[in-house]
Structure formats: structure tokens, C-alpha cells
Amino acid sequence: MLRYWKLIGIFTIIILSVGTYYVQAGLASNNYPDFSIQKISGDDKAVEDLTLITRYVSNNHSYGDYLKITREGSVYQSELSYMDRLTGLYIDSEIKRLQKDYRNFMRGKGESIPTFFENEEWLVHVGPFGIDYHETSFEVEMLDKNTKDVTSFQVNIPDKNYQYMNIQDVQMIQDELSIVTRNFYSGGPSQSDTEEFHVYRVDIGNQKIISDDVIYSNEGDYTGSEWTHLGEVNSYSSIGQEDYFVFRLDYVEQDDRADSSMHTRTEYIAYEYAANELVEIDLPDKLKGIENIVHVNGSTIYFIETKEEELQITAYHIENQELNTIDIQTTEEVYDMNYFPIVKNGNMYITNFGDEGANVLVIDTETEELLYEGKVESTDQQSFKDGYLDFNQIIVE
């Protein structure tokens, strides 16, 4: 045995050092702080199914990692098993669900929420998300959820002059598909560039385009000193049936003295899928501010803002043009801006991130009552001094 000392020596060093290191690493959790959602008032049941995906970043940027926070506590991405870590916490939860339930259909279809549509019967994908000028068709794939049959076909895009376009939403109305896109046209040397929202309607039966309607073009908005930018309003948050596609016009004004441009006001317009026409949205001036947090759910547009240190939600109902304001009395002070809302099962869930943590609020949209108020708290008091939480997504299972 003694003549093998080199072999045994090296072998022992490897086993002891590497073994000890990884056993220790396996036992000790990382040094990142743990977080959880703690109740201040209301019913804990309201946040039973709520998960926040965030990223904790230390102030000196020496580390940062994604984590999910629930009522019970938090789990960092680095604490997941190797296989789970491959998928990543930050991937959209709807996409994750679809990839799990329709694994084969979802192959190669990317992770862009606007390119998917789902109802009871169908899962539809229209791609690619970004189309540039040398591509001339939409790839449509439809999965019949009951029979598992996949229908796929290509439709030619009639308009050929775009520089590029992005798919903003896909809807299915009986045997038609409506594909909403935002198209960009470069204007040439003396003209300004143009942005347009288009709706392409596709007949599913004969797999052809029925119409290409420009629902808005900002070509005429340019006055020399003022122009508009088009933006969609949270088309990323839902893949289900929607009645309206809501978009915004951001007015920008040239400021000659400062040689810069300024965003002055915002207007909203809704496109009604079933009627294939635009619906005007008439808002009071105070809601035309640029810094409003806007969320669309069904036929309601929610504006979330801070008024005199209180949270104020204004709901605008597109079909009857009614406006109602909900004032929410919170125990804790809310942070101005940084509201991230979603509406699910009749409740609005709002997270509100600030320097010293984050507020979690659940509001019943029917009764307009605050069901729950809570706070993201850390096991370590230092956490919010040494670093900050970056919002990623809010999930209600």
C-alpha cells in the first residue's frame, strides 16, 4: 500500500476538500436575505395564491438573484434544483403553464405573450413576434384542446412597405382571427417615420386574409413641433378573450430652447374586436398625465395613482363611458409610482415597490373594498439598506 502514497494522497485531498466544500455548500443556504408577505390588515386568504417574482440586488451590485416571495417565505433561483434552474424563475408564468400543459405545441414558439390566444377550446399562436421587411407572412398554428389536432397554415401579409412590425395581440372571434400589430414605416429623407396599428383579420376556414385595417396611423399627428408615439397598454398580461384592444397616444413636444423633446400628455383609444371599430375614450384631463399606471381588464381601464399620500384607483368603463373613483385607505404609506397591478377573479392585486420594501394590496373590484393589506418584509433588517428588490412579475395561481 505504501508505495501508492502519491495516488492515495492526491485522491484523499480531492475527496476531503471537494467533498467538504460541496457538503457544506449543500447544507448552508446562501447569504441572501429571506422575504415574506406579512399581513397588516385584512384576510390572509386573499394572498394565499399570490406569488411575487422579484430580483434582489445588493447596492454594490456584487450579487443579484431572482426569487419568489409568498406569504410563507421566499425561494431564490440559486436554491432550486439544477433542472428547475434551467427554466428560470423570470419566465412568464402563463408561458410556463402553457409549456407544461402543451409541451409539444409550445416548441419553438418563443415566450411572447401577445402572440398567443387561449380559450376553452383553442390555443392559437401567430408568429413570429417581430416581423421585418423581408418576411411576408404570418405563421398560424392552432391547437384544438379537445382533439389535440394541430392546424397550421401561413397567410400572406398584404401590406409590403413596413420596415418591421410587432404582434400586439391575437384574438379569435368565431371562425376569424384578429391579429393586432404595430407597424413601423421609415419616412425617407424628408419625411418623419410613421407608426401604425393594424388589424389583420384571417378567415380560419379558407386560411386567407379578409382585411387589413389601419386602426390608427400617426402620420397626420406631426405638426412640426408636436408628434405622437403609439403604445399598447398591457397586451402582455393576458392571453385570453378580450373585447377591446386599448392603446395609447403619447404626445411629444419639441422644446427648441433645450434642444430636447418633452412628453406632454397621453390619450387612450380602444379598438372593439367584435364591431371592428374604434371606440373613443373621453377622459378628464387629470387622467391624461403621462406617469399614470394603467391596467386594462375586460372593458375596464384602471388608472392607479397616489393622491395626497393615499392610493386612488379610477375605473373607466369603456362600454358606458362611466368613470368611478375608488379611494383606498391604507395603514402604511404608499410609495408614489411603481405600482404593478393585475386583476384576477374579481380582485385587483397591487404591489407597490419603494426604497424600504413593498406594499401588497388586494382590492375587491366589485365592492371596492380593501380586502388585504400587507408588506414584503425581510428576516434581516439590513436587507433594504444593503440592497433593493426589483419587480419582475406578480402571479395569482
Binding site: Y4, I13, S17, V18, Q24, L86
Partner: protein, 279 residues
């Protein structure tokens, strides 16, 4: 088995002197680095505080606290590691060619040993693996010692303390993270890939030893084909952006490909060393 172990031990013995020199260099260089760089910093602190009459807080706000990460980014640390890596890669070639070109063509005796010739091949590979992992082990033992020295020189107010895994993970340019990854699975993957590459290289060398000039071409082609096959699923994803396979599927596919290539390389080497190799 006994023959194989004897051969491994024999292969280790033939490189052990240089190996010890590499270890010695690493230890001396890194510890010197810790002492010099720490003293440097302390010296600057002393000058700032006693001669320029800054307060401790002012000094820290200007210079920051010293962390071992700053020491790990110096040549004192990285050069011996790079040197050791280069030496072992070089020795992957030498471990074969010294047997042919050394005095009285030693390979002749090795191949005539009353044992399967594959054992010679496997013993050489094992010796390389043991020496690579041995150096990693030494580095893992060395880091806490260096951390202790660092702490004994720099007073607590001026330094940032951290546990071993953070020392490794946060080190500059992430070089320690490749050598000693965070998770054990990643460790197995990194070294699994490394050892697969050694097997592929050995097969290429045996091609050359079998067919000489023509063999160089065979060897190079084999090496690139094997590496390309291994990387193909990842490259396909990156270049064509299919997204057709899910990450977990690519992971499993890569493991299977890696194992297949390794087994194939060993099988091919076995054939070459038994049937084709010339002395």
C-alpha cells in the same frame, strides 16, 4: 485492476516533481500576494489617516473596504492557476510523446506489459484527472488559509468578510466559478466536459501515433468532429434560434452526447492502441 492502479501510480510518479513545483508555486505566490497586497492597502490607510489626517470613514468612502476579491484579481493569484492549467494541458501531449521520444523508446516496454493495452491509456487519463482535481483540492484548502491571513493583517473596520462560497462566486472575471462552481451538479458537468476533451485529445494523439503524417489530419478532423457533435444542439439553438428543445431537454441530450462521445473515444483508442499503433 491492480495493473491499472500500478500504472496510474507509475504515471503520477513520472510527473510528481513538476507537479509539486506547481503546487509550491501556487501556494507561495498566492500567500505572498495576500500579504503584499494587504500590507499595501494598510500602508495607504496609514498614510491617509496619520499623515493626511483623514478620518477612518473618509478613507473608507474614498477607497472602499478591502475584500479578498480584490486580491483574487491580481496576478499573484491568477498567474499560478493559469500556469498550472497550461502545464497540465501541455502534459496531456507530453504524457504520450515522452514515451516515444524519451530514451530507449519506453512505449515499447509499456505496450509489451502483460496487461490490456487499454490500461495504459486509461492510466494516463486517470493520472491527468487526478492531478487536475488535486490542484482544485489544494486551491480549496488554500482559500480559507489565505482568508485567515487576510483577516489577521487587515483590521475588521477596513475589510469585508465573506464565507468561502461567496469568495469563490464573486471573484473577478468569474474564473474561480468555472474551476469551483456553485453547485455540485455544475462541478460534475464542468469536469465531465473537461475529461471528455482529454479523451478526445488522447484519441487524436493515438491517430497521429498510428498513421503519422496522415494521422495528424485524422487526429485534427476527429477532434473537431467530436467537439462539433457535442456542441451541435447548443450551437443550433444559438444560431438558428429554434427554441425547439426546452432547456431541460438540451441538458439531457448533452449528457447523452457527452457520454456517447467519451465511450466512443475510449473504444476507438482501444482499437488504435491494440491494432494500429506503431513504435
Amino acid at each position: 485492476m491492480k495493473n491499472y492502479l500500478k500504472l496510474v501510480d507509475f504515471e503520477l510518479k513520472r510527473f510528481i516533481n513538476i507537479y509539486f513545483v506547481l503546487i509550491g508555486l501556487t501556494i507561495i505566490s498566492q500567500i505572498t500576494g495576500v500579504i503584499l497586497k494587504s500590507r499595501d492597502y494598510l500602508e495607504r490607510a496609514n498614510v491617509a489617516i496619520y499623515e493626511n489626517s483623514l478620518s477612518l470613514e473618509q478613507f473608507i468612502s474614498q477607497n472602499g473596504k478591502l475584500s479578498i476579491h480584490q486580491l483574487l484579481q491580481t496576478g499573484w493569484f491568477m498567474i499560478p492557476i493559469a500556469l498550472s492549467a497550461a502545464a497540465l494541458i501541455f502534459y496531456c501531449f507530453l504524457i504520450w510523446y515522452r514515451d516515444w521520444f524519451g530514451k530507449n523508446t519506453f512505449i515499447y516496454r509499456l505496450l509489451m506489459l502483460p496487461t490490456a493495452r487499454l490500461n495504459v491509456f486509461l492510466a494516463k487519463a486517470t493520472a491527468i484527472f487526478l492531478m487536475v482535481l488535486g490542484l482544485v483540492g489544494i486551491q480549496l484548502i488554500l482559500l480559507p488559509i489565505e482568508n485567515t491571513i487576510f483577516k489577521s493583517i487587515i483590521p475588521v473596520d477596513l475589510r469585508m468578510d465573506m464565507p468561502l462560497n461567496e469568495i469563490i462566486n464573486g471573484a473577478g472575471y468569474g474564473y474561480l466559478q468555472i474551476l469551483i462552481p456553485n453547485s455540485f451538479v455544475q462541478f460534475l458537468i464542468n469536469y465531465g466536459i473537461g475529461f471528455m476533451m482529454v479523451f478526445i485529445l488522447f484519441t487524436s494523439i493515438l491517430f497521429e501515433r498510428s498513421f503519422r503524417i496522415k494521422g495528424i489530419i485524422f487526429g485534427i478532423v476527429y477532434y473537431f468532429v467530436a467537439v462539433t457533435v457535442f456542441l451541435f444542439p447548443i450551437m443550433a439553438e444559438i444560431y438558428w434560434g429554434f427554441g425547439y428543445l426546452y432547456p431541460s431537454e438540451i441538458f439531457v441530450l448533452e449528457i447523452i452526447l457527452g457520454l456517447l462521445i467519451t465511450v466512443f473515444s475510449i473504444w476507438l483508442s482501444n482499437y488504435l492502441i491494440n491494432q494500429k499503433v506503431t513504435v
